[in-house]
Symmetry: C2
């Protein structure tokens, strides 16, 4: 074989392999590649002759400020290819920055040697200011924008919730095992913990609940508290505080008490001692997250006590230390025959006003469970005397896990921007949550993390955008999805417009596409049992009726959908009249929520002029076609981004198209048994009979609790 010929085949082969790959995704959006635009780089270099931090006296020596300096040094070295002098201002101006503890403001001082000054009220503001400055350079913003750049979070506690088990599995996690290596801790402290805290801080997150809400009391034992402390020690200088889930029966399980009754003085004393012990290990411990009397978890109702009694028990122990309780409202009773949609509201609204001040009630975005689309939860706006903390899900439990593209900012915005009308028009969920509607001093938002120990953190390379987006929205819920997608894409793939434009467009379209191929027009909870990855509209038997699919879609020969109007479960009555009238009227109800609130005849004409059946079928088809379109768009950016991430996403999109078609075919064949109508033109017929889909079994799906 001649060399020339060999060389030609090598070209292809070498492109596919490399011993040291540059882009394994580990760096997330903090890549700090050199600024590609020469003129812009020169302008940045000129402006950033020096960077000074301006903090009140006494803050200057903290590990947090040192961390801010270090991050800035690392970032600017990469972006500008040179070391930048970083110092603190000689004489602090000590002018307060508007916006509180976490706020920062940046000014640009032009001169013979220009400098940028980052001012903050506390050292942690220096961290956020440093990352904001770096983001400007990473996204190629004009130099002039640096002057006057300022930020302050609208919500005080911005948390990730990790559903990580002590065994290392992650409930609903598909990005590998847990990041927390409990067996090695506290002696072995993985450097990855630093990079986790860095990533969180870079998007404004300031707290992390380390373990699963389906809790294990072992985390509260002394050996584990030492491990937790080792993590907290790493996170502290990034302003990230540690929280834990508390298993309500811990006093019995690890405390040796005969009861966990919240009104038992011995139980209260045990929790007080335990909390004191925790604060000895972790002086800045954030507090407890609790799932109680929900899906089999123990709770105060085991003793005939209310959720408020349970939450107040823990809040009392935490209050002297400044800790909080985050008590989940995700409850639905075994016995209650009522629409599951209504149960949290029914159970919690009577308790409004009876919680201690350091209790948050954590409410999922919608009333069922992280579906691809839900109308906002009726609890928002219905508990004015209680701070409510939204629980969003970054892990895509019902949106394809770590294998499917679904950028979630539009979904979260849909909830946050919903108007509850609780204090008149403009009382959005976001304003309820940030405390501005009801004048709450403290505020909190949580996202169930999509992280794991795979090299790129989130499995799907594009799923990192959801971690990023959650942090950015937690900081400022007024940001648009478009802005966030643009930022993340630039930071992740560079500023080449021929990449940024199509990739951002894919991200922005993706959630609606997933809705279309899985649960369009307000359909919900029709996924397969257990793993939740694929379709299962035929699921009719389960541990309880409201774990089936037929409970939710109620398809019959007349039509499909859950009647939640006054003629049905009347869940709409839990909303304010303005909302209830909108959702409750099939003629006015937004089509995206139609089958959520109404049982609609197959032949009812929709806005498109098409019948419900035809529209439904075409939505499924459009979902599949959406993924197909991304595959083309993605193919077109080949060569403009690194091969490794490109190939990975390419493979994932191929899988997603296959899975989308599976959803379409399974659901349409199933609903067709009721609708008894042909597929409209343009909808590809299934290549397998319904039985194939019904009998198909995915095994060993990561994140399935059965694999715990």
């Amino acid at each position: 074989m001649k060399f020339a010929v060999l060389a030609r085949c090598l070209l292809l082969f070498l492109a596919a392999t490399a011993i040291a790959r540059a882009e394994d995704g580990y760096r997330l959006w903090l890549r700090y590649e050199p600024v590609a635009d020469e003129a812009l780089r020169a302008a940045y270099t000129q402006a950033l002759g020096r960077v000074s931090f301006d903090l009140p006296e006494g803050m200057a020596w903290s590990p947090t400020l040192i961390t801010a300096v270090s991050e800035l040094q690392t970032g600017l070295s990469g972006l500008l290819g040179r070391k930048v002098v970083i110092d603190t201002v000689a004489e602090s101006l000590a002018q307060p920055v508007p916006g509180g503890d976490d706020a920062y403001s940046i000014r640009l001082e032009q001169g013979s040697v220009s400098r940028v000054v980052i001012a903050a009220n506390r050292d942690v503001g220096a961290i956020y200011g440093a990352f904001a400055l770096l983001r400007q350079l990473q996204t190629a913003r004009p130099v002039a924008e640096l002057d006057g750049l300022a930020g302050a979070p609208r919500i005080k506690r911005r948390l990730l919730n990790h559903w990580d088990n002590l065994t290392g599995t992650v409930e609903r996690g598909q990005a590998g095992h847990s990041l927390w290596k409990w067996f090695e801790l506290p002696e072995v402290v993985d450097p990855r913990y630093v990079d986790y805290a860095r990533a969180c801080a870079s998007v404004g997150l300031n707290g992390t609940v380390l373990n699963n809400v389906n809790a294990n009391a072992t985390i509260l034992t002394e050996p584990y508290l030492r491990k937790v402390a080792a993590l907290a020690n790493v996170f502290r200088s990034y302003g990230v505080r540690v929280y834990l889930t508390a298993r309500f029966s811990a006093p019995k399980e690890i405390g040796g008490l005969p009861t966990a009754d919240p009104l038992d003085p011995a139980v209260a004393a045990w929790w007080k001692d335990k909390v004191d012990e925790i604060y000895r290990h972790v002086p800045d411990f954030g507090g407890f997250l609790v799932k109680a009397n929900s899906e089999g978890q123990p709770g105060p109702q085991d003793y005939g006590r209310t959720h408020a009694a349970g939450a107040n028990l823990l809040a009392g122990a935490l209050a002297p230390h400044g800790g909080v309780v985050i008590w989940r409202a995700f409850v639905y009773s075994h016995e209650a025959p009522d629409d599951r949609h209504k149960q949290a509201y029914s159970e919690f609204t009577p308790l409004d006003g009876s919680f201690r001040p350091n209790v948050f009630v954590q409410v999922k975005n919608g009333a069922i469970d992280f579906m691809p689309r839900e109308p906002f939860h009726p609890l928002f706006g219905a508990m004015p005397r209680t701070p409510l903390a939204p629980e969003l899900q970054i892990a895509q439990e019902y949106l394809g896990g770590a294998l499917q593209l679904a950028f979630l900012a539009p979904m979260w915005k849909e909830t946050l921007d919903s108007d509850t009308f609780c204090a008149g028009a403009g009382s959005t969920v976001a304003r309820v949550v940030d405390g501005s509607v009801d004048q709450h001093a403290d505020s909190c938002i949580a996202g169930v993390a999509n992280t794991g120990d795979v090299r790129n953190w989130t499995g799907h390379p594009l799923a990192a955008a959801n971690w990023y987006a959650f942090g950015r929205l937690a900081w400022d819920h007024s940001l648009s999805s478009e802005t966030i997608a643009d930022e993340w894409t630039r930071m992740t793939f560079g500023n080449d417009a021929t990449v940024v434009t199509p990739v951002s467009a894919m991200l922005l379209a993706s959630r609606e596409t997933v809705v279309n191929y899985s649960m369009p027009l307000g359909l919900h909870h029709i996924m397969a049992e257990g793993h939740h990855y694929g379709p299962g509209p035929w699921v009719a038997k389960s541990g309880r009726p409201d774990w089936t699919s037929v409970y939710y879609h109620r398809a019959d020969e007349r039509g499909v959908g859950f009647d939640r109007t006054a003629a049905g479960s009347n869940a709409v009555a839990q909303y304010r009249p303005e909302v209830a009238q909108l959702f409750g009227d099939p003629a006015r109800c937004p089509e995206k929520y139609l089958l959520w609130f109404h049982h609609v005849p197959w032949d009812r004409p929709l806005a498109s002029g098409r019948t419900l059946w035809d529209e439904l079928a075409l939505r499924y088809q459009s979902g599949v076609e959406g993924v197909r379109g991304w595959r083309q768009a993605w193919a077109a950016v080949a060569g403009r981004i690194d091969h490794e991430r490109h190939a990975h996403v390419e493979q994932l999109l191929r899988r997603q198209e296959k899975d989308a078609a599976f959803w379409r075919d399974g659901c349409l064949l199933y609903f067709q048994t009721f609708a008894k109508r042909p597929l409209p033109a343009g909808v590809e017929p299934a290549t397998q009979p319904l039985d194939y889909f019904v009998n198909f079994r995915l095994q060993y799906v990561p994140g399935d609790p059965a694999m715990r």
Copy 2:
């Protein structure tokens, strides 16, 4: 705060963090850093003006050769900092290279443009030759050594056995989850699979059993065979063939048959069809590994048939395709009251000669179970008509898992170099295994892998040395532990003698150190139940007597140890007389095996002149002191290797010292209750009472089958 002061504290901080870390261990021993010695690099550059492959006609276009060229290109680019022209010789000399399919030989042709020629009989030999050439440069060997460098493996099948479950857990694995992402496959093909195959090929491994010997028939279903095929497609060009474990009851579990009786014609037909199906997916499939009628696994004895009947059933199906069966001899009966040490021998030796030619019997190095030290298994040399495949364990199930340093080459060499005397003096285990004693044409060796999906593959950075060492010994069992340790250290940390010398010394001492602090003087199987990580000499109740510790150490007021002489279980009689006489005589028995074969009085004087009790206590103490010494040695290389790996190992060694002291204290306190003698001078007393150690519970230890 002034910049100078800030800068000083930054120095420390920046050393501890970096956004893009160069040395996360992912590259293993294939780092290809530039040759540090300028003169040597110049000499290499001169000699490697060009590299040519010399292969028989027809081999030149194969993906395997292209892979070899690619690896060489990548490696030389890194080592020499320039591209080297690589081609094939214009006219193949087609002179056979001694040593068979995998062999290579290298010659150096000096001239105006010097070149190196790598000759091989088959394309896979080009891979091994390429990695051998690179190893020379990585370890800074003189240029002249290139000429005449040649290699040929002594054993044909060199396998890793992965005890990986389809759930993603790894039995006895502590380096994260399984490398195989079954849920993503076959659509998503992790580039890491390429790097896995590359690492295997670089040390001469040519086969991999993907799944756990505690088997799951699902791997043999069509969806999983498609996933297996995707992996095999990646591994193929590196010469790595895929094998699977076969669950003996698969015909019932996935085949719908009422029986798995090996003599049932329908069962035989099912296996034939299944094997044909496998070969349609994986044309170069290697064969089956089977654990049958052992620790609850199904097998032929469920139907009153022998292991030979079971193995021959599968071998018959595989034979037409060239596949093999590897049938494990790790069996011990629930009912058999005999010394567990004796049972595999008793069960298998009568079957010698009754296996089909394509069956290997896979035998652990010792008769119990991968203890830190075992005398060689008496089956070696006792089944001349059956090729025996040693099963070694790279994962350190009983040697501290992924948290403790234990370089295993000396342990494996101890077994391989043991003389069985089966065909006279010099009939070492290695020569039995490589086929030279009994003239077997095929040969096989397997190591239970220590890999997982953590970034550095093996958890402990130094544990990669065991993967490396297993491959090198599988290729050439005559290599010394010293040579292997030296090679690996140079390839992993560079050629600085002030690093290589102390790190190699640590490696070489480590296994004996672990033996000393855990099971010295022939003690065995006295570990904690379940996870096997810590001490448990007090374990007296378990699922069966031979899962307890007291069964093995038999401590009483007279002494300690298992009498396996004629006066006891007479296990020594399973060895040839030369060996039996040595092991059976307490005066001649090597002290390292003393308590394995003898119940020895506490006051018996040993070679040191000390009593058994004093010697035992001092051995435990010396184990702890050994680890302490490494900590000092490791601290001394700080700054000479990258911070990240240094800090990681430093933390691990601190943990190991703590764990070693725990072993020492727990075991000595326990044995002291029988010996009733004081600790000799120099042995540190325990700081906790015996109860503390007995009641100590480690929870959620990775790799514990209870966490499956």
